[in-house]
């Protein structure tokens, strides 16, 4: 599998570390309902098909990436920097 790092270009799997589902978001507050935390930390959609997920280019530029990948075929349709996604989300939520 090869991920096209937006900073470094296409690189092999061996340079990356996988984290998991990028659609779950950390509750804003430690006092958010317990179930929100359980959902965030433990529950996953785990789809067979397109999956948005976090990868870390640890052997490269150390960027966290949000990768859209089909879990049935491993075909990758999109790779973006996680920080851009996170900022856009926060700005979107703030407006």
């Amino acid at each position: 599998m090869r991920l096209n790092c937006p900073c470094c270009g296409p690189r092999g799997l061996e340079e990356f570390t996988y984290r998991g589902d990028a659609t779950v978001r950390r509750p804003e507050s430690p006092t958010a309902p317990a179930q929100d935390w359980v959902d965030y930390v433990y529950l996953r959609d785990n789809p067979a098909g397109p999956h948005r997920e976090l990868w870390y280019h640890g052997a490269g530029c150390r960027s966290w990436l949000v990768v859209t990948r089909d879990t049935r075929t491993h075909a990758i349709s999109d790779v973006v920097r996680a920080v851009d996604v996170a900022r856009a989300d926060k700005e979107g939520a703030g407006s």
Binding site: L13, R19, G20, D21, Y42, N46, A48, W55, T71, T73
Partner: protein, 419 residues
């Protein structure tokens, strides 16, 4: 007269008549309108559940529905190891229950699954690992499970060809469970299927579940590619695809599906007479009764339903193999393949009721599913029949994540690919 029961007599009789009188190992059943219990998934766990439901709990109107051919998932893709060398209180008695069932399995189901208690040896390479294995071995012993601590000399006597003299991480010793070993994996599925079939269970192949029908918060049947099947109780035993099937009932699970690769070499004259695991890399190995080295390592590490993996893990596993036993350098890898693992958030399984009434879940076996098969079947059957957990599986509850009562053998936290 057809030959139903396997015995010396039936074998000789069939030999004399050219093996024309054997019966199908199980009927290729067509779905009836309704069953007391419909088990989703014709893998080892589903078939074992059906068998114990019929045999021990007297529930015989049972169907096992399988989207393809039975035994085509992890029961036929694993590296065939059985062991009960666990650390945590929630796990040890359960896996020991499985071990005891393995020990009597063949006579129970009249099928030779070649249960071979050749020993499982976990090697350690530093003091911290040794201490952790001592803690684990002592936990086993306090639970009545056999365990022995071997020093480096004892390991050397057992496996003299390991790399003792030129190792990056020298072998200091190992934890040995002599009762651990291997089982012919396919035979487990076929044996349970045949035994369940004889007790009246319908095994329905090529029947994919496409929906779970609920009424007033209660599961009442399954939609399948072969029509609707009514069910008093619906039991999910489709590890690898648990999330997909559970989603049909609106459930989200603490599970990710991952790929675990397995490897077999060309057939060789026997030289490894136990299961050995490397403690300084991702590698474990045994030798099958046919002579092939059966080995594996870590999961690939990313969500996948593809049942195949990639080169970095293949290389990683072979590096571990060469580091541990450099005499296999010229032995050739014959084939490698991938299995679909339900990886839970704490690395331990789930056998529990679900928020949907009459819907039961057996899932999250990570890569420990094969060794658990008989106990998983028995405990799941108990849960389905009695609507309460089997005493040895009380820890495997769904709500343990919310409570914090996780069973995290590796201490890796809520990250499935690290378990």
């Amino acid at each position: 007269m057809p030959s139903n029961r396997y015995s010396l007599f039936s074998l000789l009789r069939e030999t004399l008549r050219g093996h024309t009188g054997w019966q199908p190992a199980w009927r290729d059943a067509t779905p009836q309108a309704a069953y007391d219990v419909v088990i989703v998934g014709g893998g080892g766990h589903g078939l074992a559940t059906a068998y114990y439901l019929a045999r021990r709990y007297g529930i015989k109107r049972v169907a096992v529905v399988e989207k393809g051919w039975i035994g085509n998932g992890n029961i036929g893709r694993n590296t065939t190891i059985i062991r009960s060398n666990y650390l945590l209180p929630g796990n040890v008695p359960f896996y020991e229950c499985a071990m005891k069932l393995w020990e009597g399995l063949e006579q129970d189901i009249n099928y030779n699954a070649m249960v071979s208690q050749r020993g499982v040896l976990n090697l350690f390479h530093n003091d911290a690992q040794r201490n952790a294995y001592i803690r684990r071995g002592n936990a086993m012993r306090l639970n009545g499970v056999d365990a022995e601590l071997l020093d480096a000399q004892a390991v050397r006597r057992k496996l003299p060809f390991l790399n003792f003299d030129n190792a990056r991480f020298p072998i200091q010793g190992g934890l040995l469970q002599r009762r651990g070993g291997t089982v012919r994996h396919d035979a487990v599925a076929w044996g349970y299927a045949r035994a369940a079939d004889r007790l009246g269970v319908d095994i329905i192949q090529n029947c994919e579940v496409t929906g779970i029908r609920t009424q007033n918060g209660r599961a009442v049947g399954v939609e399948t590619t072969r029509g609707y099947i009514g069910a008093g109780r619906v039991a999910l035993a489709c590890a690898g695809n648990s999330s997909r099937v559970a989603a049909m009932a609106g459930l989200r699970l603490p599970i990710e599906s991952h790929v675990l690769q397995a490897f077999v070499s060309e057939g060789l004259k026997p030289f490894i007479d136990c299961v050995a695991t490397f403690g300084a890399g991702h590698f474990y190995i045994s030798q099958s009764d046919k002579g092939g080295l059966v080995f594996g390592g870590d999961i690939d590490g990313y969500n996948s339903y593809a049942q195949r993996g990639n080169m970095p893990v293949i290389e990683d596993v072979c590096e571990g193999g060469m580091a541990l036993m450099p005499r296999i350098g010229r032995v050739r890898l014959l084939r490698h393949w991938g299995g679909l693992m339900d990886m839970t958030m704490d690395g331990s399984p789930i056998i529990d009721r679900t928020p949907v009434d009459s819907l039961y879940l057996n899932a999250g076996w990570c890569y420990g599913g094969f060794k658990a098969t008989p106990a998983s079947g028995l405990c799941f059957a108990h849960l389905i029949a009695r609507d309460e957990p089997h005493p040895t599986a009380t820890a495997y509850r769904l709500d343990r994540f919310a409570r914090g009562a996780v069973i995290d053998e590796k201490g890796m936290g809520a990250q499935p690919n690290l378990h």
